[in-house]
Symmetry: C2
Subunit: 361 residues, 2 copies
């Protein structure tokens, strides 16, 4: 979107592959404008600008600090390796920039809290860049899961998020490097499973988190694949998930309720940009002699004019606009959503590190 006085002005810190998608999303969002790109070298920033056909108005910086010192940048999107998040997110907040941070947010909740505290004390908006929360399908899914007649109460949840990294990825990607993204598949694909399970539970922390003894690591000790279970004692609900860098692509959430069953198979990246589906079955009974069902899964299709990542930018920018121009407070929901995800992620990692013991939350 062309810059106008209503647009929130974005700077991108880091030229990771995912930044290409988000730079397009900033372009598509009606209330956001990309005004600057920073990389550790001006050469890389220029390369990114050329590759993505960015406007000549986008300023290029050869260091993150220069971008943060630019008074015409309202907000930063930060696709840096996880180990760098705390340093740069805190610094961005201190400079009064609103922070849209790639996931996993931090190596642990202590570091996460440093960032959140910095954002809170400076009154800037924090959000992690989990895009799927912003797809209109997600709101529609929640409508079904909240319907006490059609779905009833949650009983069991299962999520899976995986992709098969190429040999090049498994050798060189930052996500398999202990000094850059020490959480590996748990931090990358597991973040989504944990997020989806907590989303289903309306962000209620589980009572107990227990990793399942099946962690696969690379030679540097980074998790390539793992599984875990969670329990909510009071509600007697169980959730399990599987995340991996060495399995075929999955992005699944299946929820079994008292009156209905819910499935989505592409919740993180929808198969198509323009619309996305989920399916449910409700009130199923077996026909006479149990030779079939009285109902079949129903597909629900939800169209979207903007892709989910542009919806995310739009929502983030709307919040920033309210703070910047109307004196509103940052929306604490997004920081809390990230924080609880990080807490459970920490618990899974602690359970793995402690011989798969149960971690009480």
């Amino acid at each position: 979107m062309a810059e106008n006085e209503n647009s929130i002005r974005f700077g991108i810190m880091g030229c990771a592959e995912i930044a290409r998608k988000v730079s397009r999303a900033i372009h598509l969002a009606p209330n956001a404008t990309l005004v600057a790109i920073a990389s550790r070298s001006i050469h890389k920033a220029r390369q990114f600008a050329v590759q993505n056909k960015l406007s000549e108005n986008v300023k290029l910086y050869g260091s993150y600090d220069e971008l943060l010192d630019d008074p015409f940048v309202d907000a930063v999107y930060m696709p840096l390796p996880t180990s760098l998040h705390v340093k740069w997110a805190v610094r961005a907040a201190e400079k009064g920039k609103h922070v849209l941070l790639e996931k996993p947010t931090a190596l642990d909740v202590k570091m996460f809290d440093e960032m959140l505290k910095a954002c809170e004390s400076k009154g800037v908006q924090f959000m992690d860049a989990s895009m799927w929360y912003h797809h209109p399908r997600t709101a529609k899914m929640k409508e079904f899961l909240s319907n006490s007649d059609l779905f009833g109460r949650v009983k069991a949840i299962h999520s899976s998020s995986s992709y098969h990294g190429t040999p090049e990825f498994l050798e060189n990607d930052i996500r398999v490097k202990p000094d850059l993204d020490a959480l590996g598949a748990l931090g990358d694909t597991g973040w989504y499973c944990i997020g989806a399970i907590l989303w289903t539970m309306n962000q209620k922390l589980p009572t107990t988190v227990t990793a399942l003894p099946t962690t696969i690591r690379n030679s540097a000790g980074v998790i390539l694949s793992c599984s875990a279970s969670m329990y909510w004692d009071e509600e007697q609900i169980v959730a399990t998930f599987y995340c991996s860098f060495i399995s075929h692509e999955t992005m699944e959430l299946a929820v079994c309720g008292s009156n209905g069953t819910f499935h989505v198979e592409d919740f993180i990246i929808p198969y198509d940009e323009s619309s996305a589906d989920f399916s449910f079955t409700s009130g199923a009974k077996f026909v006479d002699l149990h030779v079939g069902w009285n109902v079949k899964p129903q597909a629900v299709r939800v169209a979207t004019e903007l892709p989910q990542e542009a919806m995310m930018i739009q929502e983030f920018s709307r919040l920033v606009k309210g703070i910047k121009d109307h004196g509103l407070q940052p929306d604490a929901k997004w920081g809390q959503t990230s924080r609880i995800t990080q807490l459970v992620l920490d618990a899974v990692r602690n359970s793995i590190d402690n011989g798969y013991e149960a971690v009480q939350m």
Copy 2:
């Protein structure tokens, strides 16, 4: 099917609801004939015959022993409460009857082995009445899962099997009575999850079985809902399942492989009798900028002329015919399939009973 000299002659021992479905299946199978029904009272047997419009040629017995003494009965189908299986299956084998036994096969593998030993020593065929193995869809699913290009190696498995019992069921059904079906939901719906997971693994025993600490029991201590995980150490494969009497209907198997993903949502009882689906995704990649997938799940539909329960009767009768008329040996595969399922079921129950400790197999 009208009786003829090639038909295997079935007796049904017990007039449970499921016997109605199997009596129809015997009628539909081209190589089987129902010749006798036994209940604990002749009145109940007569009632069953009337209700199911059985031929007048079907003999009615007021005791199981009378049926077992009938020399014109080749094989028995036994839908009795689990606690009665060992007594009656052993007695049936001793009388030279081939045994088609409802699941769960036994309260534990020790009892199961008594039955299997009796069948082996008398040279009669044993099979448990898990119908889904016999649907032609199941063979087609195995074809996909065995395809090293399309699916690759198994990485993770999840299964769910549940239904929401009516208040009447939860109060009075034999499956919630500790003296009749002490295994509750684990024995009934969990049997299918365990079976499906082991089927995926070509009947290879897991290294470890660990129940997840979420068992729900009724006031008499019978399991209404539980979850468990399994691991195959060498292959680094994880499986999880959820089974329940107090959740909406699910019959799911999801398998994540190295090159493909597999889903079936009605594996136990297909939505329709005449055909059944499963779906898979293979070789999925994300399109440029990761704004969609290059492939979507493909549905595979498999038609069947006979319902799966009639296919089961047909296969069982074919084996019995081979033994009876051609001196062949019983097919040991079916007993072994039941046995390994029972072994894992025992391990889940032991894990639950021992504070959710891991059980090494």
